[in-house]
């Protein structure tokens, strides 16, 4: 690789920093804690700056190129979000401050809760979960608490369609439920017969990703919700694909009982190494009492002259805390800013453009690549990264070759129900020229696959490192940054 490790640029006895003279009495460390075999890189400040600046130039990010990573909604994160999040009142407040001194922050959180509830047709929202998967976990714990509170203790199963996000079964298992898979029908919807066959009074709920991981709107959604409710279960909506629905469909109106939001996808807060996730959860009226504690609320009504006093409340049957303090506050500020910039009509425009972009790309690619569930898609689509007349070329080869053209590869080998899956999510923030360039390159790569498959097998050729040995990386887990034998 072009850039050596920081250990490789280390030079013995080079010093980058001098400690000031000690102004307290010196105390010896306990003997057992002293070690002399811990090598530290010995570098000057400039060495450190150059090293990490050079490494940062090797990053690929949405600010440097197109990033059509399916299921991840890698949209552009407006820079004004960053400016707002750095306002001193937001950036320098502390979660342990008396509530009277952070009323602006609490008002923002309260309003964001209301907005998210309004966007999705839910009655209450917690901002606490720190990522989508933790939002799911919160939701499934609420499902469990809901049944337990009713004395209905035999419900030990959660149903999960095979077109759901992979975190759904993990969440259910972690919450102590048995996971039961439901197959997908020929159109890419939940197979209603398969669902009916397993619905009984041991089902606690069903987790539905809609649009699902095929990028398709589940046309059976109302019937799925009705069947699960009739059996006494609750319906959880995985909100990771909410970008396709903003301002058009409210999951609460369709009958979903719980859902999570990915602020770091739909609401433009950074992700993919750029910042922490944030996974607020919305619930319908009958579940509001189970929301995590603490919840922001108005604790003293205001009047025309005095603003209300915001504070924290404890829902009556709360499942407890999901995180220390109040969640990823900085992400809430960014999402709040994004929603207020767009307003209701702007949010609808986002969904419409995201869906239009995906359908445009699909239309340009469907004659080159096989699309197994080929119908009008939502914000993303899944095609096979495999060509009948280039049998040795796989989705992975196509993904790697895309990097040579300076595109981030799409999600590959997911969902599992599509052979050699390439899952492409263009997002609404890309223009037609970029989409065309991407489609042109994919069509060119298909051509290369037929005429020069070796070019793809050895790709990428123009990146700082070439094809990585994924098998070795998965098997030889070296998690220590310090390898004395190899320095």
């Amino acid at each position: 690789m072009a850039e050596p490790t920081i250990y490789e640029i280390s030079s013995q006895d080079r010093i980058g920093f001098r400690f000031p003279a000690c102004d307290v009495p010196e105390t010896a460390l306990p003997e057992g804690l002293i070690r002399d075999e811990l090598p530290m890189p010995e570098v000057a400040e400039l060495d450190v700056i150059r090293h990490f600046t050079n490494l940062s130039h090797l990053n690929y990010s949405i600010d440097s190129g197109y990033y059509p990573l399916g299921s991840c909604t890698m949209k552009y994160n407006p820079k004004i979000n960053e400016e707002v999040a750095r306002l001193p009142g937001f950036a320098f407040s502390h979660p342990l401050q008396p509530v009277e001194t952070v009323q602006g922050n609490l008002a923002m959180m309260y309003e964001l809760q209301l907005w998210l509830a309004e966007i999705c047709g839910m009655a209450g929202v917690t901002l606490q979960p720190s990522a989508g998967a933790q939002g799911e976990y919160t939701g499934v714990l609420i499902i469990r608490a809901y049944h337990q509170a009713r004395g209905d203790l035999k419900r030990n199963k959660i149903l999960i369609p095979d077109s759901a996000h992979g975190t759904n079964p993990a969440t259910s298992a972690m919450s102590g439920f048995e996971v039961v898979g439901i197959t997908t029908d020929a159109k890419g919807n939940v197979d209603l017969d398969a669902l009916k066959a397993v619905l009984d009074d041991t089902v606690a709920g069903l987790m539905l990703t809609n649009p699902n991981t095929l990028g398709l709107f589940d046309q059976n959604v109302e019937e799925v919700v009705r069947l699960v409710h009739t059996a006494g279960g609750l319906v959880y909506g995985d909100g990771a694909n909410l970008n396709a629905l903003l301002g058009i469909v409210r999951p609460g109106d369709v009958g979903f009982d719980i859902m999570h939001f990915n602020l770091h996808k739909t609401f433009s807060t950074p992700h993919g190494g750029g910042g922490p996730g944030s996974g607020p959860v919305g619930v319908a009226k009958h579940l509001v009492d189970f929301l995590p504690f603490p919840l922001v609320d108005i604790i003293e009504e205001g009047d025309e002259e005095t603003p209300p006093l915001y504070g924290f409340v404890r829902p009556e049957k709360t499942i407890g805390r999901m995180k220390s303090f109040h969640g990823q506050f900085g992400m809430m500020v960014r999402a709040y800013n994004y929603i207020s910039m767009h307003g209701p009509d702007g949010l609808r425009d986002i969904a419409e453009s995201a869906v239009l972009n995906a359908n445009y790309l699909l239309a340009r690619l469907r004659n080159t690549f096989h699309v197994p569930y080929d119908r009008i898609c939502m914000h993303e689509f899944v095609m096979e990264g495999h060509l009948d007349d280039a049998p040795d070329v796989h989705a992975l080869d196509i993904a790697k070759r895309l990097m040579d053209y300076n595109f981030h590869p799409p999600t590959n080998y997911f969902p599992l129900i599509v052979h050699e899956a390439l899952m492409i999510e263009p997002t609404e923030t890309e223009n037609k020229q970029t989409l065309d360039r991407f489609a042109d390159v994919l069509i060119k790569i298909a051509d290369e696959a037929r005429t020069n498959p070796e070019l793809l097998h050895a790709a990428p050729h123009h990146t700082p490192v070439g094809r990585l040995d994924e098998v070795r990386a998965a098997k030889e887990l070296v998690l220590c940054c310090w390898l004395p034998d190899k320095i």
Binding site: Y413, F414, L416, E470, V471, A474, K475
Partner: protein, 127 residues
Amino acid sequence: MNIPTNLKYTNTDEWVLVDGKTATIGVTDHAQEQLSDVVFVEITVSIGDKLAKKTTIATVESVKAAADVNLPVSGKVVAINEDLPQTPELVNSDPYGKAWMIKVELDNPAELDALMDAAGYEKHAKE
């Protein structure tokens, strides 16, 4: 695609070798091809366990995906391939041999009738 004719198969890509009252279970050549390089195998049952049909007995993970291995028949576990978790690549190189996962004593040999023969599995795998 290698599909030995002396084995029985499930539509979820497990194979069963029957020897008297004992059945040996593993995953098929087709399954390992789909998974690509296997990097992790965990057998999640123990000797002596009495298991119902379709119980998950192992998890197989490749660089592409993770998959459960389910018991095609009900029975009591009488042997476990202790070496396999240390050498998961055997699932790729010898799926019908050294990569066997567990052996069970059959509860009900009639359950075998519901499984596919090699021809049936070949047809299934090509779909």
